[in-house]
């Protein structure tokens, strides 16, 4: 009876895995806003309305230079978008945010108004990891939100396993690390040891504002302002926490597994 019930339930529910990346990406919540676009050319001389409202000092305007916004530090609170009287900072609604270097997340200059999205790994690493990537996650001061949204990727709706990506229990079994949290000083040694225990070649992915640059805890004496202070990072995925679609986009982008036509935003903003 019970077995029959289970099978019936299972059949009735059907396949719950989303069509992405073959179909469209699930939409971000309307109040999320997605990636920011910063056009420093619109900032009049002397305007600094956005700078004090940012909780993580992600926006800077050094004398004689243009305004720049570091999306790696950004918590996506949109306070700056509201504060800007000149429309220089806009929300694009785009879920794609992952970048290969910290500089690619700094927005503002002409030609650099948007995130320079991550390019795929080189041919050799792609051959190794492209169809099978085993990752070890290390939370180093993470608040459990980035962790939760990484866990979500393993559920039936997202089914990370269909891409050959799997989170494993030991660094010895891993091809790379996923780091969350600002790297608390008390986790620095454990993170370093986990990294050393991962066999070469290996990659490191920093997920969330904390792991990229310290997030809300930037410059706290108890943290190292992100993973880069301890290990070399190959992929940065911004957000507080990043939406699961942003994380998945980053992982697939790194592995060169995204067909932009199907998985990207409509061509307008790309």
């Amino acid at each position: 009876m019970f077995v029959l019930d289970s099978i019936t339930h299972r059949l009735r529910r059907g396949c719950q895995t989303m069509a992405y990346p073959d179909g469209p990406a699930p939409a971000l919540p309307d109040r999320h806003g997605g990636a920011l676009r910063v056009e420093a050319a619109r900032c009049p001389d002397g305007c600094a309305e956005c700078i004090p409202v940012c909780p993580t000092q992600a926006i800077a305007r050094p004398p004689g230079r243009t305004t720049s916004l570091d999306l790696g530090r950004c918590l996506f609170c949109s306070a700056c978008v509201e504060a800007c009287p000149h429309g220089a900072i806009e929300q694009t609604g785009d879920h794609r945010l992952a970048a290969r270097s910290r500089e690619d997340l700094v927005l503002g200059e002409k030609g650099g108004e948007e995130v320079r999205l991550a390019r795929a790994l080189d041919e050799k690493l792609r051959r190794l990891f492209g169809r099978s990537l085993r990752l070890r996650q290390v939370s180093a001061g993470g608040c459990n939100a980035c962790e939760a949204d990484i866990n979500v990727l393993g559920t039936i709706g997202w089914d990370l396993g269909r891409f050959g990506i799997q989170f494993v229990a030991s660094p010895r079994h891993a091809d790379g690390l996923v780091i969350t949290g600002p790297v608390s000083r008390n986790m620095e040694l454990a993170l370093r040891k986990t990294y050393e225990a991962t066999p070469e070649p290996k990659i490191v992915i920093a997920i969330g504002a904390c792991a990229i640059a310290g997030g809300p805890f930037v410059d706290s004496p108890e943290v190292r302002n992100g993973a880069s202070a301890v290990v070399p990072v190959d992929l940065f995925i911004p957000g507080c926490p990043p939406h699961p679609i942003t994380i998945l986009d980053g992982l697939l982008r790194l592995l060169g597994r995204l067909d932009e036509k199907a998985a990207g935003r409509p061509a307008a903003g790309a």
Partner: protein, 496 residues
Amino acid sequence: MSAVSFLLLPNPSSTPWADVPEFRMRDFLAATAGELDRGGRLCAWFGVPEDAPGGAAVRIVVAIAFDNDNTLEVARSEPVRGSYPALTVTHPQAHLFEREVWEQHGLEPAGHPWLKPVRKDHGAGPAVGDFFRVDGREIHEVAVGPVHAGIIEPGHFRFQCSGEEVLHLEIALGFQHRGIEEALPGGPHPATLSRIETASGDASIAHATAYATVLETLAGCEAPLRAQWIRALALELERMANHAGDIGALAGDVAFLPTASACGKIRGDFLNLTAILCGNRFGRGLVRPGGCRHDLEPDRLRRLGQRLAPAIADVEEASRWFWDAASVRSRFEFVGVVTPRQATEMGLVGPAARACGLVRDIRFDHPAGWYRFAQPPVAVWPGGDVFARARVRWLELQRSGRFLTDELANGPEGEIRAEIPPAAPDSLAIALVEGWRGEVCHAALTGADGRFRRYKIVDPSFHNWTGLALALRGQAVSDFPICNKSFNLSYCGFDL
């Protein structure tokens, strides 16, 4: 000791620092012990550094809750230094609080049975140092962490085992310490709210609500009713998301896959409901001192209601498979038992306490905000085992679901945000919120300039980790995962 000498307060409240009764240290300890003996529960016990004649000293502030009387009590000690006879010896629920004050201010609780740092790295890492050891030829030690096998936060567990049986478990935390409290004096700073929201990131609404309430109380005002309503909706959504996730995780740990896979997705459905409110799946940016940042317009309200009903139905169905399975029940029953007496003595809170038959729920005992007008019934189950902790979550899922369904239709009209006046100087404010893990307590003391002089956060996990250690006594070490999951405590909320 006379009960009248402690200052009686409702939740939340603010009072001039000068009005908080001050005791000589000896009397303070005796009075606190007396209040705990007559049924009080320790909500907070923290130090306030003070320049006293003869150099730096520290005052201890205590907040005690009387759940049946719906009241809080506060008192403070004279400035002291050096050492004092530990309260823990007679009242174990003080054990971590006294260790914390010792670590933060150097005030030694003499005779404390296990005086160790709570969070700080003393050179080599929090787990390096002495652990309680059981000796004997048959005894072996199992060390787990800080880095765990799953995608979870770091902590260290040290088991003393005789064969499979755990004789003692010591939990060493501190790996997640980010210095939240240390950074708060002189605040609020621009990053303060974001730090509070990430104090324990899966309880962002609970912590942000406590923080906003503290600031509003200090300013002598309240958030508009509509904002209080929105906060309550968000808090219940947070509870449902986490409880649904926990039911799924417990099912996963006993290899009952239908519920595990369904609940993993349903958790996400609840997080997405929170995202309808504010764009962020964890509710960040919703609660602001003075109210809420986003309104729930009619169209959005309709959308929320439409998606809430199927999410509730889904979680009901997925949990029913689980409760109907004898194999699940037999793995959960009589495993990881905490007795009501242990729960009372250690001051457990939230679902962990309610699963021991204790009726304690801030929404009911010390209602604030919207909960003054409506409360879901308190979900209690006797037994104290993994089964009871799962059962309480299940009851809360049902009751929060019903509460949300009712309250969505009851939203008051009006503003969602008010400008709040500056905080009162030299005042002590305290606010309690029932987060999904239990009581979130925030207390703030302002200085002459109205800025924070001291800010204390007590996450429910601070009370409850000891419950997990007790639950493991006499258990098979292989039952640790389901015991741990049944509590699902916060590492960063403890470490701050």
